[in-house]
Symmetry: C2
Subunit: 472 residues, 2 copies
Amino acid sequence: MAKAVLTPQAENFPAWYQDVIARAELAENGPARGTMVIRPWGYAIWELIQADMDRRIKATGAQNVAFPMFIPMSFLEKEKQHVEGFSPELAVVTHGGGEELAEPLVVRPTSETVINHYFAKWIQSHRDLPMLLNLWNNVVRWELRPRMFLRTTEFLWQEGHTAHATAADAAAETERMLQVYRQFMEESLAISVVVGEKSPGERFAGADQTFTCEALMRDGKALQMGTSHNLGYNFARAFDICYLDADGERRHVATTSWGTSTRMIGGTIMVHGDDHGLRLPPAIAPHQVVILQLDDAVETATEVGRIADALRAAGVRTHVDARTHTSFGRRSVGWELKGVPVRIELGARELAAGRATVVRRDDRSKTTVALDGAARAATDLLGEIQQGLLAASRSFREEHTRPVTDLGEFTRRVGDGGLFLAAWSGTPESEQALGEIGGATIRCIVDADPPASHCLVTGAPAKHAVLIGRAY
Amino acid sequence: MAKAVLTPQAENFPAWYQDVIARAELAENGPARGTMVIRPWGYAIWELIQADMDRRIKATGAQNVAFPMFIPMSFLEKEKQHVEGFSPELAVVTHGGGEELAEPLVVRPTSETVINHYFAKWIQSHRDLPMLLNLWNNVVRWELRPRMFLRTTEFLWQEGHTAHATAADAAAETERMLQVYRQFMEESLAISVVVGEKSPGERFAGADQTFTCEALMRDGKALQMGTSHNLGYNFARAFDICYLDADGERRHVATTSWGTSTRMIGGTIMVHGDDHGLRLPPAIAPHQVVILQLDDAVETATEVGRIADALRAAGVRTHVDARTHTSFGRRSVGWELKGVPVRIELGARELAAGRATVVRRDDRSKTTVALDGAARAATDLLGEIQQGLLAASRSFREEHTRPVTDLGEFTRRVGDGGLFLAAWSGTPESEQALGEIGGATIRCIVDADPPASHCLVTGAPAKHAVLIGRAY
């Protein structure tokens, strides 16, 4: 089989990443700096992610809504930390309909401010709570170092915004959505993630607490895959969002927000992809099975159609590739690049032997199965591949997570990649000092005993166990 | 039953429209002029429209993609008529990331320019054709007289963009999508539409031909519900989109575009709504059946649950309203306002009689049915209501369409509303003169014999039969 024309991961991981996005026809750069065009294969993956995530979000009771993308600058200025955090990343509309605007409009970098303005109108009584809203939309954050799917000026995402009667309810919602995200990533993206709280330096601008799902890419760098923020009373006070409780007492609500984006596609590429291209978990593969029809014989086409029908009847997303004028090598390499989990190959020779060839994308192994059992064998493989990719992702992360108690050792080894479990004092100074060591950051605080009694960086008494590493 | 608190349609139709949008909690104005917040009930309608339309679009072979919303100004300037048409409506980003941009970015008013730029990269050979792409996104056209759902500065829509080997293929695609739209509007929105070509004055900026689906609202004004444009070679030449044909000859492609938007929700409100609120066609009703549980007795709740289960098993979107602390009048009026097609009322009294009350939203008639047959009766009603709304929409349009051959008569009657079938000479002068008569415009050229031998306006020889009327 011809070798896929990708830069090998071991040689240059960022070049491999760009190659696979181009060759699998996932996306390309847009004309304006930092923007992205998502092509049919990439967008079909996004549609599957959306449908799955949307179902999980609605199951929590949230309802979908749409808010305008233009936000008056004055709205952003109401929450001090929020505007400070987002100001450097804003795109600003100054002209509309041929005239200069009296007040510039910001293209939403996130929608807390505009949604909280409406929360204040819509929420009157404790009977209106909790209010659980979700939006699927596009947001803009100006990026100086854009990278497709991971960091683009405009990106597609979902953002949830909720209001609650008590701080405890908001804390519970923050945790609930963090777990919804973790489950989605594990069950659908087949990516094992660590969940934990962000350190203050990595917190969302305006949040009391930010929680994250962190995954480890195959180059040893971490990726923040989704975040859930407990906003406490910060936005409720800034926007004066109040309700009358059961005793007629006027109280502020407590709010949360949470989001996941097209960045998850970037994570899926970098966790599962290999030197032959993408390896898509079946749950988000636009074609779960491709049947490669090897010749134009009527008998071949008939049998291909029969297997395709059986697969579709079993609910498997199936594509028949009948481009018999295109070489076998080109076709099989193409589907490998695109990461289709299972390939069935069928031509006159297979038909004569009464067996079809079945190829797994995960380990690239080939077997032959009786024609009658081909659909069933392919369907079974999908479950195996989904589980296998998750298990591999978990092993990889665990093997590349090591406790570290010596600053010198950490400094020498941080460049190797992976995650380091360390003791941390919790001070801003130690967090900042860490950032100067090989570009590492605290990925999250984890629920574990610190591996030492004193902070890795400052030597002060340890307060938390943290995972440290370089990240995208 | 309490009367819904809406301005009656006959008294003030625009006020009724605003009232029903507010009281049914569909949407409200956004903070920036002309923008809109779509609330859960309105957005759930949009999600049903999207899912249905998306299925129909994909059935034609089109694939979904995403393109950036920021388009360099220079792209728009490539097609002369296009930029002239859209310039007055543009929103312009002049600052990003804290700095003034070297080239201002336009927030897409539509995506022909950026997509055709990529068509030129992606299309090389006749084997790449046709290329059929569709986008679900948000666009911005600055509106001086915004009206919710009908004309908002930002709106949600789908825009299709296709490239073809020949002008005939592009013409066929334009017609195919026009019919997809017509079928969707009739089958799902239960709105009878006239399809026809737009006159030059109403054409899309940059199109050779624009075709439209026109519907008639209950106040006698027309609404353009969706358009399909044959762009001929205009964009292909401007963006130099070429392919090698089977003989190795380099040729320009021919392109089309077509779109429908949240405006369809406005049309659905104004075609079906009455003085009691919305009347939603079951195909796009978020709740198709609401069961009003009238008391908290265990037996009542059990029977309500049983009927709900039976409805859901039959694939009916069913909601149980168990807010027994809220008055019956308030609840029933609320669901009437929201347009839920069928309501089942059930309490101890109904249970004792062994019958449930079933209320149709379309004619507000009530019947009682045996408890065992309630789910089946409600399910059957949904089909009847869907067909009945379409039939009513067709009758209304036909009754309010009349031939007119005398300019004086037209001038006197145009203010009454409705559509007028007239003979037209086809000249720009006559089209312009028409616009000065009571604000009427040519809605479309129809496939019929002109009702007179000479143009209604100029008296020149008639070339077309046209429908004329005032429009949103």
